[in-house]
């Protein structure tokens, strides 16, 4: 039975922290834990009454980390809204830009952010568990390579999309500009470099992580595993695709349970509401909401790199497919439930994205001149979906006949993963708090549980500083025992 402290003081819902509240039972062990992700307010209200065409410019401002994902999902949503099919060259250009973005983002995340857990080691001091620790292990030159590949990718994005951060590229029915032949050749060099570097990164993972039994044991540790459903975009052959395709869902045993057009997402995904947070918790309708639990009876599902690879039958490019097979063989088969393997899956995806860049750049259509079909239909309702680096991103707009927004719904990756993150936090907390004793490593272990998801803590805001990550521990009577802050 839960403490009545669970009915959270409404005031706490308005705070913008990444806050964790842990409630202990009579034995001093964790009864429940809650992870509050701050949510920005009033986005739909802000959008209503605006022309839908503004959304590819507005929505990139929702996230300062992956604005390109919002731009692309929004552009595709406008295609659907105006019922217009872009020409083949335009779709390939969009996918080229998007693949480039995925390469850049995934390398950044692995080397600078998520990867250090492995390369340096999860038990290393926090001050070393970052890019500097990685450099100490692999050398400064590698950091230079990461910066170089990011710079070259961003130059591609700037050339293609006008601006890197807030692109002026996607239009309903196509894109704003084509690709010049001289740029095609230059970009191919970057694509080849990206493929080589992705292979290097995977080899590094092999040499540093997989060769270390302690690391492998950590990845496979049940404390960081959840047997959930998995969701991701797939192509006509059920291979991972970041830009387009059908949404596929597999159960914890890896069996397909759904494969649907993005437009039909409301038939498969519903959102659960909890009184202690504004964020909603999407779940699979056909399975139902059974609480913050995993397993085949629970509608909780996950998105993001590992989820995508679980939901698909493979990768559409040769080298990535080899890496995909090796990963699952090491992890004991498909689907893999180890949350920490998200970092590994990220590298497999980086390789796929790099190979896809090359494929598209070698396609003679990529320099075609027909890059847009002007819409002629009356707009009503549209859905656009892409795979953002951190998971499935859904944009859904409703308009009047003039294309003025009457309603907006967005489901971002952090939404999809909200329930799994809460579960991961609770599981980690249960491992760290025994008989009333709170370990000093609590926040580090808890953060390690949700770091692979790279949740968006209101990153649309650029104000200095960050609200601290804070964990509050309460006894059975709801009395605050301890606050741990980071």
């Amino acid at each position: 039975m839960l403490s009545k402290r669970i009915t959270i003081n409404p005031v706490s819902r308005l705070e913008g922290h990444g806050k964790i509240e842990i409630f202990l039972d009579d034995s001093g062990n964790v009864d429940r834990a809650f992870f509050q992700v701050p949510e920005l307010r009033g986005f739909e209200t802000f959008c209503l009454g605006r022309p839908a065409e503004e959304m590819p410019r507005i929505t990139p401002r929702i996230c300062g980390v992956c604005p390109t994902a919002h731009h692309m999902a929004s552009t595709k949503c406008l295609d659907d809204l105006w019922q217009v099919e872009p020409p083949s060259t335009a779709k390939k250009l969009r996918e080229l830009a998007y693949s480039t973005f995925m390469v850049e983002d995934h390398f950044l995340h692995f080397f600078f952010l998520g990867g250090p857990d492995f390369v340096v080691g999860p038990t290393a001091p926090a001050a070393e568990r970052n890019i500097l620790g990685v450099i100490a292990k692999v050398g400064l030159e590698i950091a230079g390579q990461v910066i170089r590949i990011r710079r070259e990718c961003r130059q591609i994005l700037e050339t293609m999309m006008g601006k890197v951060i807030h692109p002026v590229f996607g239009l309903p029915g196509g894109v704003s500009k084509g690709l010049a032949k001289e740029d095609q050749q230059k970009f191919l060099q970057t694509a080849n470099f990206a493929i080589d570097f992705a292979q290097f990164a995977l080899q590094l993972f092999d040499d540093v992580v997989l060769a270390n039994k302690e690391y492998v044991d950590l990845i496979l540790n049940d404390a960081y595993a959840h047997k959930t459903y998995y969701m991701g975009l797939v192509d006509e052959n059920n291979k991972v695709n970041f830009y387009d395709g059908m949404i596929r869902v597999v159960d914890p045993a890896g069996n397909q349970v759904a494969r649907f057009h993005p437009r039909d997402y409301t038939q498969y995904i519903s959102e659960h509401v909890e009184p202690w947070t504004y964020i909603t918790f999407p779940f699979l309708k056909q399975v139902g909401w059974k609480g913050f639990v995993d397993g085949p009876e629970s509608g909780v599902y996950r998105v993001a790199p590992l989820a995508r690879l679980n939901a698909a039958d493979g990768m559409a490019t040769l080298l990535a497919q080899e890496a995909y097979e090796k990963m699952f063989e090491t992890l004991g088969g498909k689907p893999a439930h180890a949350t920490l393997a998200f970092h590994w899956a990220r590298l497999v995806e980086a390789l796929y994205a790099a190979e896809r860049m090359k494929e598209l750049l070698e396609d003679p259509e990529i320099t075609g001149l027909h890059v847009r079909v002007v819409p002629t239909e009356i707009p009503r309702e549209g859905v656009g979906v892409v795979e953002a680096p951190r998971g499935t991103l859904i944009h859904h707009y409703w308009t009047d006949d003039d294309g003025i927004l009457t309603r907006v719904n967005l489901i971002v990756a952090t939404n999809h993963n909200a329930a799994p993150m809460a579960m991961s936090v609770e599981k980690a907390a249960k491992g760290m708090i025994k008989n009333g004793n709170v370990s000093d490593g609590l926040l580090n272990m808890v953060e390690m549980a949700f770091r692979p998801y790279d949740p968006c803590h209101a990153c649309a805001t650029h104000a200095l500083g960050h609200a601290p990550l804070e964990a509050r521990i309460y006894d059975r009577e709801g009395r605050l025992l301890k606050t741990v802050r980071k």
């Binding site: 802000f46 401002r61 998520g114 500097l132 710079r151 209101a458 650029h462 500083g465």
Partner: protein, 158 residues
Amino acid sequence: MAASRSILVGLGNPILSDDAVGIVVARRVWEALGNPPGVNCVEAAVGGIELVEMLAGYDKAVVVDAIHTGTCRPGEFSCIDFSAICVSEIPAMTHRVGLAEAIELARRLNMHIPRTIHVYAIEVEDIMTFGTSMTDSVAAAVPAVAAHILSAEFGDGE
């Protein structure tokens, strides 16, 4: 890009209420400067690492941004010398890398970042609600903050 010595950065999100203040103040300073030689001005709504890459190659950077501490009145501001700031830990999530962490990262990677980095942090009231208007107290502070930056950072042709 490296031709100019100084860069003025208005940092923020123009559709997130008070988070626009950095951009608004920077625009005001830039208008008063009248496009002087050796100074560039940019508006940025980017995360930490992207911002640092923007600063690379300059000798001096003046960054204007919102801050939400709750310890002073909205509209009040302070100047933080980031030239000497150091952080003890760089987060392992892209969404938690702020300006200080990114500068530290760039420094340790031997990137050429400005010797002088002054960050003007303006206390704000609301950065969680989407909107194109700032709150009254923050909006009212813009002229004074801009005037101070103009004088303190560019007063002698710096």
